[in-house]
Symmetry: C2
Subunit: 404 residues, 2 copies
């Protein structure tokens, strides 16, 4: 398997587009995206666990129930959440696209992202549908990736190529992250396409299993969004034998999916609102997988640790503090902590107590853009990784006046 | 009952002091505090639930087991946590004070606050003990309140006067808050003194019950400190009949204690690191008390809501989002949300959906220093309040480079 240049159009039979239709005032910002498969695709999705759910999720959930979808429409600039007419508008979006593409309305996935609680005007979307569909092309995946962005600074797309029974398959994906990122059983907006042939049941199994170690292991700000979803479309056009059980092909597919998802996770965490650094907490030596994950996530979520990383301050006491309140049963006196980046590794805590280290070297390591906080619990064989970002002035700035 | 000017020396028989002994480099910052009762006092305490516990907590817990204490020593500038010799140093602090005061070492409460994981040098404390004790006075409670501060901007002290069976009683307290504030079954450093006579069992009951609605309902940054404790000393010098059961006197005592604790909570939340505003989330109409508390706390902890309040932005969707991921079972379609300050009240959400409101009036209300986020779940009769603060540039600044 290798990572290739590309995104949602890398797999055979998929095209995409993104335009500015007028939901946002800024005319240079694309705000409406489409992803389309030439043939109906097997579909699987996971959604936010927030009790407040965006209207598009409710509509999508209904449409995807039969395990089939052919197109995705997604706007940015407005979440279509907590609006009295939300469902009606989301269904309208689906209807408009289904007519223009001549696909069934129930084969359309609808998604929205942006501010909550402001009615979404259907007019710009209705006016935009024609040019949106007319511009569909296997070269325009990047436009779709741009159109789903909100406060994201960087476009997030990735693709991989792998082989199943001699047939070349691809998986590609795009994501929108930035703020309100603290997935719980599901996540921010992620759209993944593949030409691998896989049954609906196995696709769903692959997705639900993988997100436990990927999208559920990132956090930007501890807020679980109302509109999170991850959708995978598999159109089978690679011509491989359909994956219908947990065999070697399924394992290969899982590995490829995991690579796409981990890459998108790192992109989302590293481009968290206001972030200057990608943080990874890598936990080893845990007694159970659950302990490893709980510890990794707690460290990544600690405001104090995040602020210390922003300041390149090797304040490891905050890491230990976050482990201590995580709720995981660990033996504090066995814990080792190191900070690592491409500049090197510095051990700062051994057996739960501080060790002498060079502040200068620690600073040099922590001034890098990607920091790994290594925690060894020395208590078992389970590992886990979680991803997050530093807490910066700009996070506050972006969120102090988001709506204006 | 009335609130009076004062603090830990308001109750009869208590004296206090605070000096600069040299733990901190800044010679104008007091860093060593003492609180002393003329006679041994009934003592009760609650501690952090963080698995990482400061050495002073371990020593204090042992000393307070018999329900009696006579003096409190507390340093700031170093938490004496995650150090190999931590217990030894905490016991040394206790021994030094016990000798100087001629009280039993096991009647001394030891507390520390500051950076984690740096060995605490006993020397400045040893040198400071004599002047610390010599300066003990009923007029120096303010110095003790100053000496326990870390990144706190404001001194936190309060006292109340009430009557039990014709005898005038007082309760007073001081607190240290600011960062790493997200109490869980116990809280930051709070020292409370009273001259009311109350049995050890009833004092412990009063404290444990009251913190559920006070110190466990505040959050500055979601980080539960390793060194949190609340200690109450009751020396009985007011001469009231000892409180030994849940009678009218106990209710009066509880009400006075609650007033002291709520006042300290508001002071701690309003003086959160970098805070410009005190936030209160007031939940009504909940089906159970647990739901009311869970919702109030979730809103107060939401980084996005906190940042919106900093920007005086009436972004109520974030409040609804925080309610939705709180874990509490609520009916989103029944929820009303208003923002309130001394400038007035603005209803922003009715039955879970937005209502028209004047952004100008909302802005005027949210520019105030104390904001109440009113949430009516319209689903029952239970209420709860939680307190927090806004998320600001200065929080990031303070915590980006705390150790240097």
């Amino acid at each position: 398997m290798e990572i290739i240049k590309g995104g949602v159009c890398s797999a055979k039979g998929f095209s995409a587009n993104g335009i500015h239709c007028g939901i946002r005032h800024n005319r240079t910002k694309r705000d409406l995206a489409i992803i389309y498969s030439q043939v109906p695709a097997t579909a699987a999705a996971v959604y936010t666990t927030n009790l407040v759910k965006g209207a598009p999720l409710i509509v999508t959930k209904k449409h995807i129930e039969n395990g089939v979808a052919q197109a995705i429409i997604c706007n940015s600039g407005n979440a279509n959440t907590c609006n009295a007419n939300g469902i009606e508008i989301a269904e309208k979006m689906s209807d408009l696209l289904s007519k223009e593409l001549s696909v069934k309305p129930e084969d359309v996935v609808v998604a929205s992202t942006g501010v909550i609680g402001q009615p979404l005007n259907i007019e710009p979307i209705a006016n935009g549908i024609k040019p949106l569909v007319q511009g569909l092309s296997a070269d325009n995946g990047h436009y779709a990736a741009e159109a789903i962005m909100t406060t994201d600074v960087a476009v997030k797309e990735v693709a991989v190529e792998f082989s199943l029974g001699g047939k070349t398959c691809r998986i590609g994906g795009i994501a929108k992250g930035s703020g309100m990122i603290h997935p719980n059983m599901a996540t921010m907006l992620v759209f993944i396409t593949t030409d691998a042939k896989i049954s609906s049941q196995m696709l769903s199994k692959a997705l639900k299993s993988d997100i436990q170690n990927t999208f559920n292991m990132i956090s930007v700000d501890g807020d679980t969004s109302t509109n999170d979803m991850v959708v995978v479309l598999a159109n089978g056009m690679a011509g491989n034998n359909e994956i219908v059980k947990e065999d070697e092909d399924f394992a290969t597919f899982m590995k490829a999916l995991n690579t796409v998802n981990v890459t998108l996770c790192r992109m989302i965490a590293g481009d968290g609102e206001g972030a200057t650094k990608l943080l990874e907490c890598s936990v080893s030596g845990a007694k159970t997988l659950d302990i490893a994950k709980t510890v990794a996530k707690s460290v990544i979520c600690s405001s104090l640790t995040k602020a210390a990383m922003f300041g390149a301050d090797a304040n490891w006491g905050r890491v230990l503090c976050a482990i201590g309140y995580s709720g995981a049963q660990v033996d504090i006196n066995k814990i080792d902590v190191s900070f690592k980046s491409k500049k090197g590794t510095v051990l700062v805590c051994k057996n739960g107590a501080g060790v002498d280290f060079s502040e200068d070297i620690a600073k040099e390591i922590l001034l890098e853009k990607e920091i790994i906080i290594e925690v060894n619990l020395n208590d078992g064989d389970y590992n886990s990784q979680a991803w997050g970002c530093d807490l910066t002035y700009d996070y506050v700035k972006i969120n102090g006046d988001y709506r204006t």
